[in-house]
Subunit: 143 residues, 2 copies
DNA sequence: TTGCGAACGATAATCATTCTCATTTGCGTG
DNA sequence: CACGCAAATGAGAATGATTATCGTTCGCAA
């Protein structure tokens, strides 16, 4: 399983090219769930692929628009992407090691809807990150 | 009232220089509550001040570290700052006109604490923005 | 006032990201 | 299966935000 699926790309209106297939594969079968353009570029390089950084940026943006990936703007100035598996969630990020955990809280979601309504806003989307130290978990920076 | 207060700068360990006083004044007495470095720079220029953009960035960062200002990273790639008045709040941003409203929700705050605890994180801070259209309010882009 | 280190202004440098453009490639046709 | 062309790519230039460098100036204590 976990083969690359050209049909998947076609179904969202993108022709299946080698860079696109490789990048999608990295997100589907790679170790890291959250990756920046530079991260993906390095993985491609490490895998011996000759893919330009510009292409990585282009493809990530296309995948985002196609709904295959979700883009996040965590602190640190660079965008990170993750596979869009349909389930919305927010993130808690370790400032020490960069480790990211996901969570979903119904109460928070509904409060947001309520607040937007009260302020007469039509919600487009929202962005919630908690930053801290994962002092007691599998934080990679402690071994 | 609303005079510039050199003592305020001294009290946070910064010597009172003209650029710092002017910038603090802009935040205390200006129209806009949320401003980017470029915004502040333009206001200084419009006011006939000869202040370098580099200085604006330096001062904003110093003010942030001193706790006078709070930095936010909204969508759009540039940092915006606002006066730190001690009261934490989150933001809802209009994607049409950039208008920002602030809100505070106790339920959301406490849920976040709970979630961080469950995931064994020590919260440093958090960042919550709702993005949408302020279709029914004083959105500047509709007159 | 004098002196020195901190702060400044101009500008070069850096970082992430996007754009340009000549070359290559995916893919439907004949 | 070769052909042709538009779409996609790669290399590198360009951009926008922010930071670093450096010679000059300024705040402030002696």
């Amino acid at each position: 399983m976990n083969e690359m699926q050209p049909e998947h790309l076609k179904s969202v209106g993108l022709k299946s090219t080698l860079p696109r297939l490789k990048i999608l594969d990295i997100f589907k079968n790679g170790q890291e769930r959250h990756m920046s353009a530079e991260d993906v570029y390095q993985l491609l390089r490490d895998g011996g692929e000759n893919v330009g950084l510009a292409t990585v940026y282009r493809v990530l943006t296309q995948f985002e628009q196609a709904g295959l990936l979700v883009r996040h703007n965590f602190e640190g100035g660079k965008s990170v992407f993750e596979l869009n598996e349909g389930t919305h969630h927010d993130h808690i990020v370790c400032l020490q090691c960069g480790h990211v955990e996901e969570f979903y809280d119904n109460a928070i979601e509904s409060r947001q809807k309520k607040i937007a309504a009260e302020l007469h806003f039509t919600i487009h989307d929202h962005s919630l990150q908690i930053y801290g130290d994962c002092t007691k978990t599998k934080c990679p920076h402690r071994h």
